[in-house]
Symmetry: C2
């Protein structure tokens, strides 16, 4: 039996984490009492830990970085990797603005004063339009109210606040046992476009009560980001504000995990479960998506090759449109394998399969198209969760990448995003 169990609670699943969220009008101006619950959804959230936590982060590798990314990184250096609170808004990325860092620091200062903690223990993040001055008034209005609303059940309020074009909030949590103690780990994430990361994806916050040393926390996060968020592609654009934070309170009472032992493996697996499931939620809710696509590259000579091939296929616009059109035009898959940036594949050994709840068929063998039942393929592609299975027949390693189809609605959503 695997040592984890899915539970509710999102970022409040772990002991010692309160959260809150509300609408403060980042995009549309301060609330005037006439807000609609649908249009004026929460746009700012706070997380507050009962105790000082260890924090690990993975950030965008885009050279144009959001001011909050710069401030958060600098805060964590100043605090020695310790954090107590998160303040995060949607509706404005606070990026490419002359006063960006000033505003991000102000968000930290306001939060720190309200919660009576050092400003460098505040993690700040923003998501939304790039290159639009962030209005600070809504933040000033929100911070005292957020502090007041903080609760151990506030996870959904917060998860809603970080949504932009997302159609559903994304939360996932598990419990597991380390050193005889029950531990919890849960997270929230936002999508749903500008997703094809080299370092992280969008905004993600993960909390745990498991005691883990800062080094092991960072190591686990980096390893798991590589095989989850980094294997997700909606559209091939990489955001300026990608931030993935992992914060550990240690309140589960286990002996701190400080080496790559069995406990570390258990912790890492719990982290993988949460991040993998958030990744799948992000892919499913990709802008305009009607189908989840999972591409598994197997029998690869090594992990990097498997990842590169799976990502090349999941990123291809022609594969994405063929899945949307439910057309088993698998030459496009072979083509995307062929231009994957690796020299470790032999296309003459390439096998391709399509699968879903409705069944599985092989369409390519040894790099060549096979005669297959178009009827069966059509039945498989009618489902809303499609698997593309690539066999390289050159080793024993596998990797998975997740994405979604490319639809009219992606174009619609992104043709007029700012309004």
């Amino acid at each position: 039996m695997e040592n984890f169990e899915t539970i509710g609670g999102g970022i409040c699943a772990a002991k010692g984490f309160k959260a809150s969220g509300l609408y403060c009008g980042i995009k549309h101006g301060l609330p005037d009492g006439n807000e609609s619950p649908v249009k004026n959804k929460n746009d700012i959230a706070m997380i507050f830990a009962d105790v000082e936590c260890s924090a690990a982060g993975v950030y965008t590798s885009n050279k144009v970085k959001g001011a909050p990314v710069i401030v958060t990184k600098s805060n964590l250096v100043k605090s020695g990797g310790k954090a107590r609170a998160v303040i995060v808004n949607s509706g404005n990325a606070n990026t490419c603005n002359a006063d960006g860092e000033e505003k991000a620091l102000e968000m930290c200062r306001l939060t720190a004063e309200q919660l009576n903690i050092p400003a460098e223990q505040v993690i700040v993040a923003s998501t939304g339009v790039i290159g639009l001055t962030l209005p600070i008034e809504p933040v000033r209005y929100a911070v005292p109210l957020l502090a007041e609303k903080l609760s151990y059940e506030g996870n959904a309020q917060a998860a809603t606040a970080i949504m932009t074009t997302d159609t559903v909030k994304k939360e996932y949590a598990v419990k597991f046992t380390v050193d005889g103690k029950e531990c919890h780990l849960g997270g929230m994430a936002k999508g749903s476009g500008m997703i094809h990361p080299n370092m992280a994806t969008t905004l993600n916050f993960i909390t745990t009560d498991c005691a883990v040393s800062p080094e092991m926390l960072q190591k686990a996060l980096s390893e798991i980001v590589k095989i989850t968020y980094n294997c997700l592609s909606v559209d091939g654009d990489q955001s300026t504000n990608d931030t993935c934070m992992l914060i550990a309170s240690g309140l589960a009472g286990n002996t701190e995990i400080a080496a790559e032992n069995g406990d570390y493996e258990t912790f890492k697996n719990a982290l993988y479960q949460v991040m993998k499931n958030l990744t799948i939620m992000l892919a499913k809710d990709g802008e305009g998506a009607t189908k989840l696509i999972t591409c598994v590259c197997s029998s690869a000579p090594d992990l990097d090759t498997a990842i590169i091939v799976a990502k090349s296929v999941i990123r291809s616009p022609l594969v994405k449109t063929m899945i949307y059109g439910e057309d088993a035009n698998c030459g496009r898959i072979a083509c995307a394998v062929g231009y994957a940036e690796t020299d470790n594949i032999d296309v003459n050994k390439l096998d391709i399969f399509l699968a879903s709840r409705a069944g599985k068929i092989q369409t390519y063998k040894n790099g060549l198209n096979m005669d297959f039942s178009e009827e069966k393929a059509a039945k498989i592609l009618k489902e809303d969760e499609i698997e593309i299975l690539i066999e390289l027949n050159s080793g024993t390693v596998s990797a998975t990448a997740w994405g979604c189809d490319l639809t009219y609605d992606y174009v619609k959503i992104n043709g007029d995003y700012r309004s």
Copy 2:
């Protein structure tokens, strides 16, 4: 005055080249007399040179290569870089098929026999669906008729035959003077999806009567491909069949260009004019395109950096959709510059401008968003040819990349391509 003038004639503009094209039913079966001129457009073409020519080629770098690419490369090795004829079909890529090479060789053999030339002097190319057995009967039917129809005015017939989802045929030709002799150079190309090459783009055939040594021919082609076809992106997919052939008859009577002298520069400029204009035609006719996007990256430290940045912007789906939506959301442009794969840029020096026939405005300065007139931006973006101007302010080198917007119709065209 520049030493070139635009003329008509496409691949027949140069002395010594005949061409023909017709419908033979590659996709829908042999003609039965009830063909519609619109639906059953030409699908096979022949080019035949009066004399033995030098040939240079640039091919896809996709590891999954079409059988015609493999056969053409091998033919040119066997013939010592000499060619007399081209046979090319649309409607089927003859790629990933067990009998692909056999069929491609058969196309060469049929053509060679008909024209009474060695089979290794035939260049073969195919474009269309990947992984579908190529029917040879339509080719057998077509070859004698193509030979019969060969004419010095057959360029348009041939240019039509290589179209797939293209909505217009693409031809361009120039005349220029080398060594006191009037020379001609003309080409034809096909688009219009699966375009984001590392080596070449789709199918292109260029003929010239200028006498050029095989080495200089290859050198010029490789240099110009880098700054034209390789700077074109419709969708980020790279085809398995990309082939760009340059064939020189030498019939203009000039002293053969055999070194990098002034004549070489004149020849290279003529080649650039033809390939640049074909590139622009390909971008304009990108699948579903409503707008041509030209991205010029200037004041770069070197050519590679300028190309990488311009291509990163032109490839971004979010930039493409913003142009489609006529929304001056220039943070997306800054974002795409930021994730360009180069370390030679300083994003704090980045300036961005939007321009079209309707005017020009600056939207970013020193990496920061500027206050600009949304009204003026809207007017600029209403046009159907949009320029995105990137200034890196770090050097003196420029490069241009071409592309188109991403629209509903791209999704529509590619959701159901095979039928």
